[in-house]
Amino acid sequence: MENKLFEEKMSVINLGLPSFFESVKDQGAPCVHVDWRPPAGGDVRLIEILDRLRELG
């Protein structure tokens, strides 16, 4: 599959440092920030269940 990243209008999704989001916004690029939390409160067993369920489809 050919990557059209350099040809299309680019939107940015930020996960993590809010300052990276702010700086992309300041540059006028479309950007969405994900107010991320550790999945399942960081519970390893629950994360495993979620991932396995998704894999099962």
Binding site: R37, P39, A40, G41, R45, L46, E48, I49, L50, R52, L53, R54, L56, G57
Partner: protein
Amino acid sequence: MLKANEIALGRLMAADPVLVDVKPAHEVLEGLTPTTFLHAGPPIAFQDMCPPMQGAVYCALLNEGIARDIDEARRMAADGTITYKPCHEFGAVGPMTGLTTWSMPLWVVEDRATGRRSYANISEGSGVGLRFGEYSQRTLDRLKWMREVAGPVFSQLLHEIGGMDLAPMMAQGLAMGDELHMRNHAGTALFVKNYAWLIARIAGPEAENVLKFIGVGNDQFFLNLAMAANKLAADLADGVPGSTLVTAIARNGVNFGIRISGLPGRWFTAPSPMVKGLYFPGFTEADANPDLGDSAIMEVGGFGGCSMITAPAIVKFLGAASVDVARETTEAMYSITLGEHPRYQIPALNFRGTPCGIDIMKVVETGVTPILNTAIASNRAGVGMVGAGMSTLPIDPFVEALKALAQELGI
């Protein structure tokens, strides 16, 4: 999306609820006996019930003529005469205490495609009533009138019009500023607007009383119809192996419980939360019962807290600081639901579909739990509603349900 959830969500959204009749409970609820009392929320023994629910049991014992007076009612409630079961396990739902017994008239809602049915009792209207555990003569008189007069009038009305399509009324209610859980002004008004002429003819000399019953002080009249419609959708979506869709959220005033499609019939419970909200003058949180009632079926179907932004008028009533809370609540519910309902749309969000189909995987992953718009009941029998607010559910039952499903699937 999981295949199983696609199927379950598809069924939830395909429900086409038609209000077809009003019938005594014993004629429509399979397995009901004169001494089987149905209540809101997950299973609970009489001794463990909250005071308003115990009061409602006394009221029902008197209403059914099983007990002759309150002393006998108190004795019989606890002596094993009565079997207590959740409404949910009989295809029914009831607001607040949800007490539903043998002779009580129930709304019958039928799915047009499958013929499956769900049921809810009739909203009692102004004052305290059975649903808040009141057992006064006034309450008993009204229950009798509902059984003997109002029920048959509604039944005939529905026969004459060949059933009432509830989905368009619910959709219109949203457009008119209801979220259909704590605000049903529009839905109730639509009922009167559309059918007053017919009620006037059918009810004859009782027309004034019937129309006053619906129209005055019974703002939540339409809620019970919508609850039955959403119970129908939830039951249609129930029982899809592997599905993580929530098919019930219900509170008995001590515990709240959820059920998921992939594990039909199993309850996952935790203590009912206290509701954060606004209290009526003279009441405080010390007067409040923990969260109570089957009306959270509205959130299961994508209404209430999920659709809160459709009803900006109620934010103050629910003790929220600003309309932003309504918007944020609906936004948050989009992050834990599987889809957007094509029939039920939110004008303020450019007709985006309601966030519909709560998914325990998304709840567990994000830590965001369903938010219910709800009435706050007094923690004493027969006092009634002391406020209204928003109830954020604890996450534990969602986690337990996910673990149980994982075990079932050998994960």
